[in-house]
Amino acid sequence: MLELAMHILDIAENSVRADATTVVITIIENEETDSLTIEIDDNGTGMDEDEITKALDPFYTTKKVRRVGLGLPMLREACRRCDGMFAIESAKGTGTHIVARFRNSHIDRQPLGDMASSLVMLITGNPDMDFIYTHTKNGVSFMLNTATIKEAIEDVPINNPEILRFIKNMINEGLKEIGVYD
């Protein structure tokens, strides 16, 4: 994966397949502690302990069309090579919580990339789900909640191209404001 935003899109797709209705994506950048933390939290079906272990095996997948499952192993590997840490907490019926931490200044840390595009992709493919995205950099935050947007647009579908373009601009502007993009 070339960008962290692509990892996030990929991992959130797991939540989609786990029948989650809400996915909470949190990114915390802290220059003081030199860390970048990504948390993805869903209310999907969850995994038991056995499944958590298997999920990190690249040759394990719940899909029938191919024999490998690389999403989580690749994210864990990305963390590992950046002096980071990776954890999965999950239980059947309560959802899954994933933490991926990187040493922010590590030369191998992928750039954050286009978060607005990843979020819009998720919304396009899953208009019925809710996504809550919070990005904090050095204590200043930007937040986007699709539930609030749905309330404001009433009967207009959230995957209408005009609305999606608006959401994209909103995220890009918000992230610029808190200093995520130079």
């Binding site: 029938k64 995957n159 609305i163 373009r165």
Partner: protein, 127 residues
């Protein structure tokens, strides 16, 4: 530029509502961008970005875009399925932003299958 607010969103909503009222059309084309780990790593997001931009620019309202999982042909990603109503779905392989724009203009709008990038006809099972 001033900060985008929920108020701005409401203005767009009113505009969209008025537009849909003027040209109430049925769904004519469904486009599926396959978004498994393989698709994302191969550039499916850029393909989707290009498609959304084309739709926005052309102002068409009868094209629905959705995503789906991997269908087992990871080496041919990014894959895009174009399904014109009452016609067999067409799968395009090794897509990129430029090919997507061509498929949008020639196939989705004009109805001419772009056989240079086409992989197959028909539906598949994704899971």
């Amino acid at each position: 530029m001033a900060k985008l607010t929920i108020e701005d969103l409401k203005k767009i909503k009113d505009k969209v509502q008025a537009d849909t009222f003027l040209r109430e059309g049925d769904r004519r084309v469904k486009v599926t961008v396959h978004m498994g780990t393989c698709g994302i790593a191969a550039g499916a997001r850029q393909v989707m970005d290009a498609l959304m931009a084309e739709i926005s620019e052309s102002g068409v309202t009868d094209v629905v875009v959705t995503t789906s999982g991997c269908m087992g042909l990871c080496s041919r990603e990014p894959l895009v399925t174009v399904e014109v109503v009452n016609k067999e779905p067409i799968k395009y392989e090794h897509m990129n932003a430029n090919k997507m724009r061509q498929v949008f203009k020639r196939h989705i709008i004009e109805g001419e299958i772009q056989s240079d990038f086409a992989l197959a006809k028909g539906s598949e099972k994704t899971d």
